[in-house]
Amino acid sequence: MTIAKLAWKTLWFKPLNTVLSIILLSSAVTIISLLVLLQTGFEQKYRANLENIDFVLGAKGSPLQLILSSVYQIDTPTGNINYNEALQWMEHPHVDTAIPLALGDNFKGYKIVGTTAEYLSLHGNGLKSGKKFENKFEVVVGNKLAEEEGLKIGDEFYGAHGHNASGHVHKDHPYTVVGVATPTGKIVDHLILCNIASVWAAHDHDTETSAAKTSAENHHHEEKRENKTGSHIDEHQDHHSKSLEEEIQKSEREITSVLIKLKNKMALVTWPRLVAQNTKMQVASPIIEVKRLFSLFGIGVSMFEYLVSGIMFLSAISIFIALYTRLAQRKHEFALMRISGGNRYQLLKLIIYESLFICITGYIIGTAVCRITLYFLSNYTSKEFHLAINPFDIIWLQELLLIGVTLILGILAAIIPAIKAYNINISKTLSHE
């Protein structure tokens, strides 16, 4: 106990070296824990959102983009697919469940997703309160979103076009909140869900009113009207006949993508091939794309790991130098301890304690800084990527490993100085005063 006290006091008596060593070590610890927590956090969240989705059926383009937009709601969609055509493949005998998605609108940046009620049970969750959406413009909101925006059952809001809140607002049809989804820690927490008809209707109506406005102002009858906002749900409206128009509309209804779960392993091989051979649509595998994404990530992460190992090593060297250079100044102290009745082992202990104290302090500060950083980062990632990382998640294995490495480093850095102190010749030290 008393040796430990001496070690601690010595460290802070001339604190410059100590502080330097602690800074180096704690920054290494911070970066390592951040990397580990972020990486596993992201991977877990990404994997969790993949449950029950074998494939995503969507428009041709980058498969990664299709996955990111349809499964994670972060990228823009690759385009639209014809609903009727998709329907054939959704009803294919190999398919177990097929959940259509129609994207295109948002509320304050939160995506409004036209889908079926099955989307809610996709991740095995249901409703926290209220009921499922049935009619047009009824919505179920994610739990996080409800908290952040203070939405309750019965509240109404208007959707805006596109992916950001500054898009054109569809002022005609308010959405009504009829339910709040249970918290899942997944994407659903940040989404607004309604039926596909709502998304179609929002755009139909919007186009109708602006068309009426245009014709009233200009008195011209244009054959086709440009879609100003460049909607994903493209509408071609004909002015000639209302009923014909509806017919055409029905056959040209479009959706963004379909989340597919197949019945068996055989189907996993054959179904995507059939779609590729017979349609212009693409089938992307979320597992493959996410793997690809993380392998891209991985290069950056491992670069970081080398860098951090370097910093770790540097901090061990700095501890070593601090202890070693202090030896010469302190040999009288060591001799004194022996004179007072202390033995060699107590000197050994003293030096190792000093090193370990630096390491433990560095570890504690590093971990604290990591958690604080993560707390702020989590707010950001939850907004930007719909990924909330709990800053107080503890990955025990990693933490234990990190503590272990830190302590071993401390002992290694102390070995040589400690042995030097152990072997000190008291008589010589005293006669060279």
């Binding site: 008393t2 001496l6 006091k9 010595t10 802070w12 008596f13 009288h332 102290e333 001799a335 004194l336 301890m337 022996r338 004179i339 007072s340 009745g341 202390g342 033995n343 060699r344 082992y345 107590q346 008291i426 008589s427 005293l430 006669s431 005063e433």
Partner: protein
Amino acid sequence: MIQTKRISYKYPKQEELVFKDISLSASQALLISGESGSGKSTLLHLLSGILKPKSGKILIDNTELSRLKEYQTDRYRGKNIGIVFQKPAFIESFSVFGNIEFHYWLATRKKVPKQEIFNILVQLDIAEQANKFPRNLSTGQRQRAAIARAIINNPKVLLVDEPTSSLDNKNSHKVAGLLLESVHELETSLIVVTHDDRLKKHFNNHMEL
């Protein structure tokens, strides 16, 4: 309480040093004087068990010091021998008080009552320095702090190396008085090694190296 019998020591490539026998009982004081290089420090190191004699015996309170193993010597020294060096070293990161406390703990593995430390510091007139760091003390104060430290755990033998070499007459007189006083009070055997002739008048027992 301390006895030596024909002890000798030899440094590599040097002539062997042979020391006269010493025999002191409790409350007795001995002044050993000699020029530099006469082996004063060596004798002190031998008497405190820091060096082992080449031949001969050192008995302190009937324990043969030269027969103990190293860690036993460390323990024994802490418990029974108080040493004050010419330029006393301190643990720089502890206060004067802390140094004495720590010394007591190393020597006995026990905690010393605070009052005892204060009593000794008062006696040596450095109570006001108790909470200062050693580097902030004057030479004389360091000397006295070192004496306080050496006698805190009532050693059987007190060894003092050149206690007055850097002190003026007045302080030299004072320190000699203090040392002799504590000998009587603590019933220790005191050995002072010096080349300072001013001290001779204070001691009845002399030995020339």
